[in-house]
């Protein structure tokens, strides 16, 4: 029975029956609308609600002007920084889960995944409440400041000036912090799955052969976790590149990312063709990233 189902090449009918619905779904709700938007990117506004698909490349020409290109580059830099921080934080977290006692592991993983089940908007506002001028972060820092001031009076020094809240929100720092917060699970899970598959006796063998923990980490753990690292980087970088909500809510006037610009074209500017061109530039960039990743994966497969 399993044989019959496995070989879909010789059993076309059941395969077709199973595949029709999802193919139809993808075609109707993904490929068709994307094609329409793609066609828009070669058009121009012919009226408030009319788009004339004339095959013009003006939208792309405009999208590659420095004003927009710089936002593209900045979005990429912010996404790359976010990914790097996620990797630096996520690797030890993934290792800690891997080496935790088996009975704790499901709970730790649950802790990583729990935020997924909470609305992004709520999570972002919660983080903002924490980081606001009257938030707990500022209160905590203020408490430390007051403590330091009091200590100074104890040793006969002048007290410090009164605490002025730090502006934690509405700047690039807040955007990166918010993006790291949102994307960390995307990094931890593929890293965890790579580290979990790693034969622990390889680590012991390395120690046994005289390597310290750092050398073992660099020469054994990192190379063997490379597929997980690349997967984690891709799965973090791509959505971070298209981040919209976090820069919109937590960023300042200078921290808009490309998704915010795109949103403005579709809504306030009502310039769908230009918005479509910007969108597809972003999509092309992601395609290139994904192609690079799969080329690398193939190379590894061939070498192995």
């Amino acid at each position: 029975m399993s044989g019959a189902l496995q070989d879909w090449k010789s059993q076309k009918k059941p395969f077709a029956a199973v595949a029709t619905a999802p193919v139809f779904w993808l075609g109707l709700f993904f490929i068709a609308p994307m094609t329409i938007v793609w066609l828009y990117s070669f058009g121009q506004n012919a009226g408030p609600a009319d788009i004339d698909i004339s095959g013009t490349l003006d939208n792309y020409k405009r999208a590659t002007e420095w004003l927009y290109l710089s936002i593209f580059l900045k979005s990429f830099a912010v996404a790359a920084l976010t990914t790097l921080i996620c990797l630096i934080i996520g690797f030890p977290v993934a290792m800690a889960i891997t080496f935790a006692a088996p009975k704790w592991r499901p709970w730790l993983l649950l802790g990583i995944m729990l935020p997924f089940w909470t609305n992004l908007l709520i999570r972002t506002y919660a983080l903002m409440a924490l980081m606001g001028s009257n938030g707990y972060m500022n209160k905590g820092l203020g408490g430390l400041w007051d403590g330091a001031s009091w200590l100074r009076t104890l040793v006969g020094m002048q007290p410090l000036e009164a605490w002025t809240p730090v502006q934690l929100l509405y700047n690039n720092f807040a955007v990166v912090l918010g993006l790291v917060y949102v994307h960390l699970p995307f990094m931890v899970l593929p890293l965890y799955s790579a580290l979990d598959r790693l034969d622990k006796s390889l680590i012991e063998a390395s120690l046994d052969l005289g390597a310290g923990h750092f050398k073992t980490f660099m020469k054994i753990v990192v190379p063997l976790a490379a597929p997980g690292i690349f997967a984690g980087v891709m799965i973090t970088l791509v959505p971070a590149l298209g981040a919209y909500l976090t820069p919109d809510l937590m960023g300042g006037t200078d921290s808009q990312m490309i998704a915010n610009v795109i949103e403005r074209q579709f809504k306030r500017a009502n310039d769908w063709p230009f918005g479509a061109a910007l969108s597809f530039l972003l999509i092309y960039a992601m395609f290139i990233l994904i192609a690079l990743q799969s080329m690398r994966a193939n190379k590894v497969k061939e070498a192995g």
Binding site: D199, L202, E204, S206, D208, L209, G210, A211
Partner: protein, 376 residues
């Protein structure tokens, strides 16, 4: 052959507890320099934990491990003069054979030229010349094990630890590797400490074997002593196949002893047993030490058992089971008292297995030095 040598590893009252579970329970033993030492026991007996404590991957809860005169309590695994061959071999999958074998030398800063020479030498030793550029996933299990062996030997450790080295190999390869390991050990002169649950492996390779049961040493002896002079029922039963009968000591003098076994009959031994008179004891009798006859060959039987008084070391029964193994045939014989005794008989001629069949009435006898009296 290793008598009188200095111990290279001294294990002093070592215990290891994982929570409430005691894996190793107050073990003390010495491993002598240059010997092939085997830790033998059923799975879960604590033998692997003991090996991992020698390697430094586990810390003893109590006690002390001394390697080459140095207390290892605070020495991490990467600073110990021992190397380990892992059960899974743990060959680094992202490195070729040369890089795997040279890993430890590179880490310890040995020069490139010396590393190259020593790697080549180690690969020659394990017969892997020509495999230098292979990746581990292009090699068989046996070849990967050789890589792991070379990778450890190239470090010239004082002691080589092997965790179930042959368990993942097929039967033919296992037999071959048993010889090769013993040969290799002879050649390099390094002390080998091997963990195994396979008694054949232990008997064929070891100079001495420690049988471990429930975290304690049940017996420490050379292989032949273990087999012929087991110290207790656990060892007798775990090492080889054995018939065990409960009995009572009725005679115990320096040059003879007798045991009355209700299940088997009267047992006579031509040596003394240092047990209290009338004590409850157990008789262990190996299947190959029992001779099988057709009843009525009484004279021949008595002649063969002449070293025992009349009516001793004899039994009668009916064959209830047979299994032909080629070199020997095993018979399960129901004694007159109802107990089953196992007898193995070598097929010295091509037709020997035809001599007896199911439900045949048979007689058995054994020599007066064959039974072993066990006090525990």
């Amino acid at each position: 052959m290793t008598e009188g040598k200095q111990p290279i590893i001294e294990i002093r009252n070592v215990s290891k507890r994982f929570g409430k579970v005691t894996a190793v329970d107050n073990i003390s033993l010495d491993i002598r320099a240059g010997e092939f030492f085997v830790l033998l026991g059923p799975s879960g007996c604590g033998k692997t934990t003991l090996l991992r404590m020698i390697a430094g991957f586990e810390m003893p809860t109590e006690g002390q491990i001394i390697i080459d005169g140095q207390d290892m309590s605070l020495v991490p695994p990467n600073k110990r003069p021992v190397n380990m061959v892992f059960q899974s071999y743990a060959v680094f999958p992202h490195m070729n054979v040369t890089d795997n074998v040279g890993y430890g030398l590179r880490i310890s800063g040995i020069s490139k030229a010396e590393t190259r020479d020593r790697v080549a030498e180690a690969l020659e030793l394990v017969k892997l010349g020509g495999f230098e550029d292979r990746m581990p996933d292009q090699m068989s299990g046996g070849q990967r094990q050789r890589v792991a062996l070379a990778r450890s030997l190239v470090m010239r450790p004082k002691v080589l630890l092997l965790d179930e080295p042959l368990s993942a190999l097929d039967a033919k390869l296992r037999a071959q590797m048993q010889f090769e390991l013993a040969d290799l050990q002879d050649k390099v002169g390094i002390t080998f400490v091997t963990v195994t649950h396979d008694q054949d492996e232990a008997l064929s390779m070891a100079s001495r074997v420690a049988v471990i049961n429930k975290g304690e040493v049940a017996q420490l002896a050379p292989p032949s002593d273990l087999y012929e002079y087991p110290a207790n029922r656990f060892v007798a039963d775990f090492v080889g196949s054995v018939n065990i009968f409960e009995g009572r000591l009725t005679l115990d003098e320096p040059d003879k002893a007798a045991v009355n076994c209700p299940g088997l009959g009267k047992i006579y031994l031509n040596h003394g047993v240092t047990g209290p008179h009338g004590a409850n004891v157990w008789i262990a009798l190996r299947p190959e030490k029992i001779y099988l006859h057709v009843p009525g060959e009484g004279k021949a039987v008595r002649a063969a058992a002449q070293d025992a008084p009349d009516g001793h070391n004899l039994a009668r029964g009916t064959i209830k089971g047979m299994s032909y193994l080629g070199d020997v045939t095993l018979y399960d014989i129901q004694l007159e008292g109802g107990h089953i005794i196992r007898v193995s008989r070598p097929n010295l001629s091509r037709h020997d297995q035809e001599d007896f069949t199911w439900d045949d009435k048979v007689s058995m006898h054994w020599r007066a030095d064959s039974p072993v009296v066990l006090l525990s």
